[in-house]
């Protein structure tokens, strides 16, 4: 195993463990890591940055004041210094990455140039979420740079049942960028799904898919509806393909690894098996 690690090397390992905490189990993983490191000063100095990274990576949903709809914590709405903004409610807030709570609200105006596109996209996306995600939330971020408008939509859906020894989360991110006058542009998607089952074991599904489609650009509303149509189709198709894989894995791959019973359709006769000696054993004394 080699020499003892430096503090910074240990902190790197600790941060990697935290980054891989399954959905809904950040607290447990953090407590384990904290006990193993046994050095809270090091945790404060070099590990705590992993908390924010984890929340942004998981698109953690947070309740914000004034509305039912949750706001997702992502790279795109990060104002730095642990402040994030919710374009839907036009406010920014301080986010406690350990408690996962919002506070210190302030008004916040989104980028003006992209706002008509962003708010229409958000309206259509929110309807889509109600239709396809019982436990889902979404946030749409808009930005602009000279004539280029960028839109990034985040979808998050999770179900935590630790008492039944399982947790799961779905994440999708859909983004596009275009300049005024363009008639079509690329829509990029990234879907991630993770399921953890841990009764007397540790079983995980980890799955992801990259998607690229082309969309026609028209007015804000027509474009938004078109984007949603493609998102729905792509996500349906991915989910169906994963389910088909499950079928093949179960019907073919798993069966080919180990039979339910020997070809004789009966369990083994161990008395017979131990009486029969293979010839080659005679030379292995």
């Amino acid at each position: 195993m080699g020499e003892t690690l430096t503090d910074e090397e240990k902190a790197t390992i600790a941060r990697r463990f935290i980054a891989h905490a399954p959905p809904g189990e950040f607290n447990e993983v953090f407590n384990d890591v904290r006990t193993l490191l046994n050095d809270d000063a090091l945790v404060r100095r070099s590990v705590s940055k992993a908390f924010a990274e984890y929340n942004r990576d998981q698109y953690i949903p947070t309740k914000v004041q004034g509305v039912e709809e949750e706001c997702l914590i992502t790279d795109a709405n990060d104002l730095s210094d642990s402040r994030f903004y919710d374009p839907r409610t036009r406010q920014s807030f301080k986010f406690d990455h350990l408690r996962r709570e919002a506070s210190e609200y302030q008004p916040h105006t989104s980028d003006e140039q992209s706002e008509p596109w962003r708010s229409t996209f958000e309206k259509e996306l929110t309807e889509y979420i109600k239709e396809r995600y019982t436990y889902g939330a979404c946030t749409v971020i808009g930005g602009s740079d000279a004539d280029t408008i960028t839109l990034a939509a985040f979808i998050e859906s999770h179900k935590f049942e630790p008492k039944n020894f399982w947790n799961g989360r779905w994440r999708s991110k859909w983004s596009l960028a275009f300049t005024k006058g363009q008639t079509e542009c690329e829509l990029t998607g990234l879907i991630k799904a993770q399921v953890h089952y841990f009764e007397d074991g540790n079983v995980q599904l980890v799955s992801s898919k990259d998607i690229t489609e082309t969309i026609q650009l028209q007015d804000e509303t027509t474009t938004a509806k078109e984007i949603i149509r493609i998102i729905r189709q792509s996500e349906d198709s991915y989910q169906q393909a994963v389910n088909e894989n499950y079928q093949v894995m179960s019907d073919s791959t798993f069966k080919a690894l180990r039979r339910q019973l020997p070809i004789t359709k009966a369990k083994i006769d161990w008395t017979k098996i131990t009486a029969y000696k293979i010839g080659s054993e005679l030379k292995n004394a």
Partner: protein, 285 residues
């Protein structure tokens, strides 16, 4: 942000081991080797305990003298060398622990019996049995590894690790058997429609029983029957957890029109929701 972390915990090495094992139950099993190696780097004092307690996918090695493969685990390791069940010698050459003569003969017979078992259930693969002496009996590990052929574009692998402890009683006329079995199942695929999909991990079960013994070689019959029954049960559980439960959880995260998994989980929650709805419609007193 980290205001809650103000004191360093005073941790015992027992609680560190508990945390390490808890971490291994939560981190994605797809990286079990790296996770274990990182854990050992983090708490080198727990190296031996971790190597003994954490199951890893089995490695296959060729015994050039015997012309056969055998499997590596912590139980046939001494220092940095591993003992072959065919030649009963260590590679790299090492004067390591060997089973007593009587136990070595049982080990030879057990390896042959389990080769036949493996052939009848797995139709391929590699198996190895290692025994070691205890004060009032002996212990052993029965290992099986089967790698799928990769057909239908899906990679699959099965690892069995059965650890049995045999306590001899009544001067060898009876014995108490304690079996701890772990089966690891790994499935992965990379396809256009479903992207990257990795379903993997392990389940562990235990079982204890007693038997009358008239001959030392009978242990193989008793151990064989226990393992066969245990593996058949675990195979069934793997089937329902991997291809039933994790799939249902995934389908509860998003409602693609065609899938029933969401319905099943909703039905399980239905009673609770009905009760809440009834409570809400009761007139306020």
């Amino acid at each position: 942000m980290t205001s809650q972390i103000t004191t360093t915990l005073n941790v015992s090495s027992e609680s560190q081991l508990d945390c390490a094992l808890d971490l291994m139950r939560r981190l994605p099993p797809q990286q079990v080797e790296k996770n274990l190696s990182d854990l050992i780097d983090l708490v080198p004092d727990l190296t031996e305990e971790l190597l003994a307690a954490v199951d890893q996918p089995l490695k296959v090695v060729r015994d050039r003298t015997a012309g056969k493969d055998y499997l590596l685990c912590d139980y046939n390791r001494d220092g940095d060398s591993y003992r072959s069940p065919w030649t009963n010698t260590y590679t790299p050459a090492f004067d390591g622990t060997l089973p007593s003569d009587r136990l070595r003969q049982l080990e030879i017979d057990a390896n042959q019996a389990f080769e036949q078992y493996r052939e009848m259930y797995f139709e391929g693969g590699v198996s190895s049995v290692y025994f070691w002496d205890l004060e009032n009996g002996f212990a052993g590990v029965i290992l099986i590894k089967k790698v799928g052929d990769g057909s239908k574009n899906i990679k699959g692998c099965w690892d069995s690790i059965h650890v049995v402890e045999v306590q001899e009683k009544q001067n060898g006329r009876a014995a108490h058997y304690k079996l701890t079995s772990t089966v690891m199942l790994w499935l992965q695929t990379h396809k256009t429609m479903s992207g990257m999909m990795n379903l993997g991990g392990s389940l562990t079960r235990q079982f204890e029983t007693d038997h009358q013994i008239t001959d030392f070689s009978q242990h193989i019959i008793n151990i064989g029957r226990m393992i066969e029954d245990m593996e058949n049960k675990i195979r069934q559980t793997l089937n329902s957890i991997y291809f039933g439960k994790t799939k249902d959880i995934l389908n509860s995260l998003r409602n693609s029109e065609n899938f029933q998994g969401r319905i099943r989980l909703q039905q399980a929650n239905f009673t609770g929701e009905l009760q809440s709805a009834l409570n809400r419609t009761r007139p306020v007193e």
